[in-house]
Symmetry: C2
Subunit: 418 residues, 2 copies
Amino acid sequence: MSAPTGNPYARIDDLLSNVRNFKIIESTLREGEQFANSHYSTETKIKIATMLDQFGVDYLELTNPCSSPQSRADLETICKLGLKAKILTHTRCTIGDAKIACDAGVDGVDVVIGTSQFLREHSLGGKDMVAITKQALEVIEYIKSRGCEVRFSTEDSFRSDLVDLLSIYKAVSQAGVDRVGIADTVGCASPRQVYDLVRTLRGCVSCDIEVHFHDDTGCAVANAFSALEAGATHVDTSVLGIGERNGITPLGALMARMMPSSRDYVLSKYNLKMIKSIEDFVAEEVEINTPFNNPITGFCAFTHKAGIHAKAILNSPSTYEILKPEDFGLTRYVHFTSRLTGWNVIKSRISQLGLIMTDDQVKEVTAKIKAMADIRPLAIDDADSIIRSFHLELNNGQGQEGQSEQNGQNAQNGQVEA
Amino acid sequence: MSAPTGNPYARIDDLLSNVRNFKIIESTLREGEQFANSHYSTETKIKIATMLDQFGVDYLELTNPCSSPQSRADLETICKLGLKAKILTHTRCTIGDAKIACDAGVDGVDVVIGTSQFLREHSLGGKDMVAITKQALEVIEYIKSRGCEVRFSTEDSFRSDLVDLLSIYKAVSQAGVDRVGIADTVGCASPRQVYDLVRTLRGCVSCDIEVHFHDDTGCAVANAFSALEAGATHVDTSVLGIGERNGITPLGALMARMMPSSRDYVLSKYNLKMIKSIEDFVAEEVEINTPFNNPITGFCAFTHKAGIHAKAILNSPSTYEILKPEDFGLTRYVHFTSRLTGWNVIKSRISQLGLIMTDDQVKEVTAKIKAMADIRPLAIDDADSIIRSFHLELNNGQGQEGQSEQNGQNAQNGQVEA
């Protein structure tokens, strides 16, 4: 628990919170393989595993080796790479699956079983909780006897009966399971529900708590954060969030969420400058584009446009940025060629061009630029031409262009690095 | 407050919650114009306003008419369209801006001023809260005297001093403001912070509460939902979330979030089947792609792949879906040609092809399909060919293909409508 500091905006964590002490179970090679477009070759799996290991994730989760012969062979291959990250696989809660998983050489097995009324009826043929618990305990005992870590997760946890859930989690915790998992398999949970369930569970089990959130209703990042606040210890992610339907908590977005709260911890563990290259590699493999609005790596995540924003950013980036682009090896841009441009930004541009004007003159040329931007999109050259020709008129052809003109050459598309 | 029903998973709302009684302030024509790629023509603005009005949003917010001459002319044009939605514009908190806004014919003016230490220092030249409050009260009085609705919002509310915030909100509420606004201008807020601040504010003001969330750390949808739970009344959105940097709460994602909690309310107010066409129009205008993982309209939002998921979906879609694609005029797909395919899905496909096999035969042909999918991505034709040739072998060339064969013609890319 951290004491208040001189910064009045510093968080005061409570004793439960693991916001500054969490682990990542990276599931691009399991959940991500369930993404509609995924068809990984062995080489691709090795490359993804290696990059994520260099990034610093704590665990890598791979597809069940029972899925296909190649899945089994690839799991064995990745177990032999000697990565720092522990290798997990994700299986049904049966001795048969568990045996094949342990034989493949994994560090741990993540077993899962459906507990909601929906899944018990439609996926498990009407099994009751007594039978499910008995099965879970047998499989856990088996995996432990093989010297592997074991996680027990329910599926569709947020539509399962609370008493059923807590009963089975308590039983597996007493049986020595390493982690219990909560999974929002259908993406229905909201942050306060998540906080309440994890907080309640935290009081019932002594083992670690893993959480897995689907993003059908846009809350997968927020739910992961709320779960950590309530005492969860491990978060499942995938690169760009790829998975069943529209996927799960994205690795990069989770980093964006954790940085303002847990900067020192995140920087000590994870190599944030790799996020863009990892995302680019996976996006190309599964033939998608990085979403335009992706946290951190969306093409305009650090672009400022409206006059009031741009003015303040030029004074001090922290006014409108909670994340620093340089932490991710990226760059900030200020847009200055739109109808929303303010004169403070044009003043900065004039100075970059090495020209000298009074504030009234800057305001006059700003009005000219805005009037032109009302008519059509302006490239940076257009705006610069307006500034230069205005300046030329002011000085009757005697320009005062100076040594900093080359700064102007860095900009493209009406944006300038700030 | 709703009573518990026969459904054990039904929410029990508390008295504060507006989850089933919220309004949308749609800001694609204001916040969305601050998106890096936006350059709307007058015709585009009219089209967007008209579509959003037909969709059923309560308010449309447009760019400050002081931004440029065309901005002012366009605002006047849209005020004259006679839409059902009320027309707002968003201005600095000055009499000058407010006068031009009221002259343009708006129904209301949304004024904003920065209150965080960061913005007061870097954007407002060090103004103190006494001066900011005095200025706010003058502008509010002026706008009310013109017969317009008025909203007063702080900027960067989550990095502002709590006592300062509550003081100014209380003062403007007593002065008769219609709404106060909380804005997470930098995208730093987390759901529990949002709940706490809105809950506290709800106890200090009698007017409506509007919320505005940027998505830098991936929480804009969850924060809006948490705010409504705490008593907020109005949520700012834009189509696909476009806005400064990576934008704000997306309209479509908010609908996805609200549907599981507030289905009847949402369906009574909003024309959900228009979401895809509105998003497609805006995406084309600002030259972006709909994100692959967009709630509702992402290309695989309703695609199911892993064997265990697909089996249950075929039994009952509610097992793995919290949203119904048909509510949005969309269709569900089940992937059956990957290495993750299970035999239940292949059994369903065999039946669609009008073939008859025993379960053991289905399992045998499933293994063949999975083995082939290990080698290369399979199109639906590939999988169907394996099934047909296996069936042919079984029957020594005497096929039993029946009348439902045409079902197979609907599928492409290894997916089938379920």
